[in-house]
């Protein structure tokens, strides 16, 4: 496929891998922040091409995985109401709340619909004036502009029957939280290319300086990721800690200004709880007071959802890069995509699901030989 197959070329990948082998002299631990990158690494077997000295750990950049349990429970409560058409991106539907998931709510008669854009939800609201249309606004800086545009358009159309359950999160505060944790092993980051396509990469300079970590803005195709790792290792080996842009074909330093303006107009930065990690200050987006009428959490006067994660689930440790999925005793046995304990097993971009789909023979064999 044009502009895609070129970045999956096996021979070029081998050459990049050989170069990484050549320049690596010491052990390094690199975190890829984004779940899309984790998925590509495991799917294409990119980590198998790397020298054993390089450890990749899988970061918290899966929006489905980090959406807190109580927000999922709120979504379930809203979606079950008879007057509501609940709209969501597809992969949120299977994420378990504390008792059930959106697919089950749909099976019981809830009107739950997959949309490809928040603007489709606005259209639904305009077409169904007697129903309440709610959009589940989750995701990083990548999806936030589209959500903001939905709010903006709904306001312009004076739609009274449209609202959003918002759980948008931001990447740089999560990197800050990871780096300031006492047990942090991460020595460098591959930053998420699509987040930077929207936001640019100015905000990473203070982080690279403060924590002395290389941050390389990286794309999602195998050659992008290998190239990003090569740039990162070159920095680490030479003792540099800079912000670099591997993904030049999509990312500029300033990013997409109109998108950023729209996000700022509609949202304000708020503290946000991350599933498996806890509350991170200034790490989320919430609707500004001007747009408070579109806040589904206020509109539906939800009950206070305070829930505990299943004690056995180590998703938090995985999202912080402290454990690998197959190091969990429940992995692939009691916890599977069909019966997930935590969101990292549900989302196609969650580290556990990626390992389960592509790797589960490995831990099993290891267990047998021990």
């Amino acid at each position: 496929m044009k502009f895609l197959d070129e970045y999956r070329d096996g021979d070029l990948a081998q050459k990049l891998a050989a170069e990484i082998h050549r320049v690596t002299t010491r052990p390094w631990t690199i975190m890829e922040v984004c779940g899309g990158q984790t998925h590509a690494i495991v799917k294409f077997g990119i980590d198998e091409l790397l020298p054993p000295k390089i450890t990749l750990i899988h970061g918290p950049g899966c929006p489905v995985c980090v959406t807190p349990l109580e927000v999922i429970d709120q979504a379930l409560e809203i979606a079950a109401r008879p007057e509501v058409i609940f709209t969501s991106f597809g992969d949120m539907l299977r994420v378990p709340g504390s008792t059930t998931d959106l697919l089950a709510v749909k099976a019981k008669g809830g009107d739950v619909r997959i949309v490809y854009s928040p603007l489709d939800a606005v259209k639904l609201a305009a077409e169904n004036p007697d129903r309440e249309v709610v959009f589940f606004g989750v995701g990083f800086e990548t999806t936030a502009p589209a959500t903001a545009m939905a709010v903006y358009q709904a306001a312009a159309k004076s739609l009274k029957n449209f609202s959003l359950l918002i759980s948008h999160v931001l990447v740089p505060p999560a990197i800050e939280a990871l780096m300031s944790a006492p047990n942090c092993r991460v020595q460098a980051f591959l930053a998420a290319g699509h987040v930077c396509a929207v936001m640019g990469y100015e905000e990473y300079f203070p982080l690279a300086k403060k924590y002395q970590v290389p941050i390389v803005v990286t794309g999602f195709e195998p050659l992008d990721i290998l190239h990003g790792i090569l740039l990162t290792v070159l920095q680490l080996e030479s003792g540099r800690a800079e912000v670099e842009n591997q993904y030049v074909r999509a990312v500029s330093r300033a990013g997409n200004q109109p998108a950023q303006d729209l996000v700022r107009q509609v949202f304000q930065v708020v503290p946000r709880k991350w599933r498996g990690i806890g509350e991170i200050p200034q790490s989320g987006l919430g609707l500004r007071e001007t747009y408070a009428a579109f806040d589904a959490a206020k509109k539906f006067q939800l009950t206070d959802h305070r829930v505990e994660e299943p004690a056995e689930c180590i998703a938090g440790l995985i999202l912080q890069g402290l454990k690998k999925p197959h190091e969990c005793p429940a992995f692939g046995t009691r916890c599977t995509p069909e019966h997930p304990f935590g969101a990292t097993m549900v989302s196609s971009e969650g580290a556990c699901a990626a390992y389960y789909r592509y790797r589960r023979h490995e831990p099993t064999e290891r267990v047998v030989t021990q």
């Binding site: 496929m1 044009k2 895609l4 999956r8 070329d9 096996g10 990948a13 081998q14 899309g36 495991v42 799917k43 294409f44 077997g45 990119i46 198998e48 091409l49 929006p63 489905v64 991106f89 597809g90 992969d91 949120m92 539907l93 299977r94 697919l103 997959i114 490809y116 989750v138 995701g139 990083f140 990548t142 999806t143 699509h194 195998p222 599977t336 995509p337 069909e338 989302s347 196609s348 971009e349 389960y356 789909r357 592509y358 790797r359 589960r360 023979h361």
Partner: protein, 350 residues
Amino acid sequence: MNAPDFSATCPLPIAQYPHVLMAHGGGGKLMHRLLEDVFGRAFRNPILDTRHDSAQFTVPPGRLAMTTDSYVVRPIFFPGGDIGSMAVHGTVNDLAMSGARPLFLTSAFIIEEGLPMETLWRVVCSMRDAAQKCSVQIITGDTKVVDKGKGDGLFINTAGLGVIEHAQVIAPQNVQPGDAIFVSGDLGRHGMAIMAVREGLQFESTIESDSAPVHEIVLQLLAAGIEIHCLRDLTRGGLASALNEIAEAAGVKIAVEQKAIPVREDVHAACEMLGLDPLHVANEGRFVAFVAARDAARAAEILRSSAVAAGAALIGRVVDQSGSLVTLKSLLGASRILDMPSGEQLPRIC
């Protein structure tokens, strides 16, 4: 193939009954007219024409193959086909997977009250044309009408009967180490065609379903003496599900190569955009064939000489009998599990 102009040719006067009514399934005169003038007229053949409760027929000597399937596709008409032609192709293809020559089909219609009569007529005509092309007869059937809101327009259930004229045993248990694994063409087109229409997604060109009968090419392979160990049509769950089912039933390890698996560029692009894997997406005119290693080259030649399998590709081999596993060699050369899809395919966030 298009249905003839409805108003001119449909035997039930459209002005009188533009929509299917509950009474069309009620057992009275209206139902009788629907059966006679729509189904009876379109599907007519000597066995159906006896108008008995059950069809009576003689079968040629040999083993028989039988299958049943239900069709619930939405929308009823999609680029490259419709529920009627798909019902015929799907049933014929299920029989073909035993290497059977399809002979007879049954068809039962569950119609939602209010379905436009024209829609029903177009579907019936499409079934008739597909059956003629596949040289099968629709010899008995049934019609039920359900209340508005209790169905999704139209459901079709079929059964198919075919005769097996060869001595080979085509089944997963016959799969052997070294077998060559072919797919009969590019993958994922039916699923993406449906998804594009259903979700209102627009791509540069229309993706058309691959819905087609494949029995002729299977019979050609058998006639040429190709030793076929297993066949499976790649419907829901796609190639990944079919390979996993066979690996599990046969207790074998299967290794396939990503770069050998044909996927059209537009399908690939649509899947990338939605975060779907073309190997998990449904097909309606594609099958996977496990062929004895020594016949692989000849099988490839025969497959590629036919229109329906012109894009056939050798995608991998059966490795050994050390357990049930399907692995895929990625474009980078690394090997990973190719798993069955888990639940419904859901487009992802980003």
